[in-house]
Amino acid sequence: MVGNLLLRGMLVGVIAGLLAFGFARVFGEPEIDSAIAFEELMTKTDTPAHAVPHSHGAGGMHTHGEASEAELVSRVTQAGLGLLTGVVVYGAAIGGLFALVFAFAYGRVGQLGARATAALLALGAYVAIVLVPNIKYPANPPAVGNPNTLGSRTELFFLMIVVAVAALTLAVALAQRLRARLGTWNAAIVAGVTFAVFIAIVQYALPSVDEVPNQFSADVLWRFRTASLGIHAVLWTTIGLLFGALTERSMAARFGQPIAARPIGR
């Protein structure tokens, strides 16, 4: 049964990834192209900013333009098959992990059915994995970000995800404990405010990343970052709603107790 859920989650993730790829093509790629054009302009004019295109170590040719001789992967492939592979593999992985957490959460977090559990779980995952980390460490287009700080930026980014996921899990546990005393609404409010205050303190304390080149278009940056949030929104919305719809019946049949036949006193 759980293996079946895992497989279903991964398949739903693939479908979500395909939809997210469509979104990324339409809303993300134009901004990447703008950023690469900016990057090339900086190279040509030889601007001594940290906007200078990244070269990774010895012999690491990392150039995006058609003009470069040592191009490993063409822009067409990067924006087509490469993007598709990345988003779909990511979607499948996220979908599978989602299914495993769903198997734990179902019947343990309130008395919610499969669809409500899946929808709320996806919403929570979007907040903890995408929204909260992105507020502090947003997605960066090409030409933004100093290659020398890549290591520390990656650590901070994943640290933020781990902290947000742990904090949200604890907040849900807190709400569960307070529910008997405060009622569902008030327990959820107390837990939600606790989560928000905790995240605010953590984000205030963690170091900021300030690496956008001076001349980089603020509009391109904004559109790139909202496109990134949109891609994740498409992914998580599809996973949450589709997984719930496909799982409702089998979960109720295998892990559902008929309400009429419920023993007295439970």
Binding site: I94, H232, P258
Partner: protein
């Protein structure tokens, strides 16, 4: 049969942890490796020499928000 069910007729029963655990261990290992390859291989860290993986997944990495370079 054609009724729209607003109130479910069953209450959810938790899936036993023992039934979840083997799949959770197997699945999360496999899937975290997949996310690592999409997000960080030949970027922040590198197992395979070269830049092909990085360049191939370049756009997805940027748009999914992984620190790319």
């Amino acid at each position: 049969m054609t009724d729209i069910v607003l109130a479910p007729h069953t209450r959810p029963v938790p899936v036993p942890v023992g039934e979840i655990m083997p799949w959770a261990v197997f699945g999360s290992l496999l899937l975290l490796v997949a996310i690592y390859f999409v997000g960080a291989e030949q970027g922040a860290t590198s197992l395979i020499p070269g830049m092909y993986v990085h360049e191939f997944l370049h756009d997805g990495r940027h748009l999914l928000g992984f620190p790319c370079h």
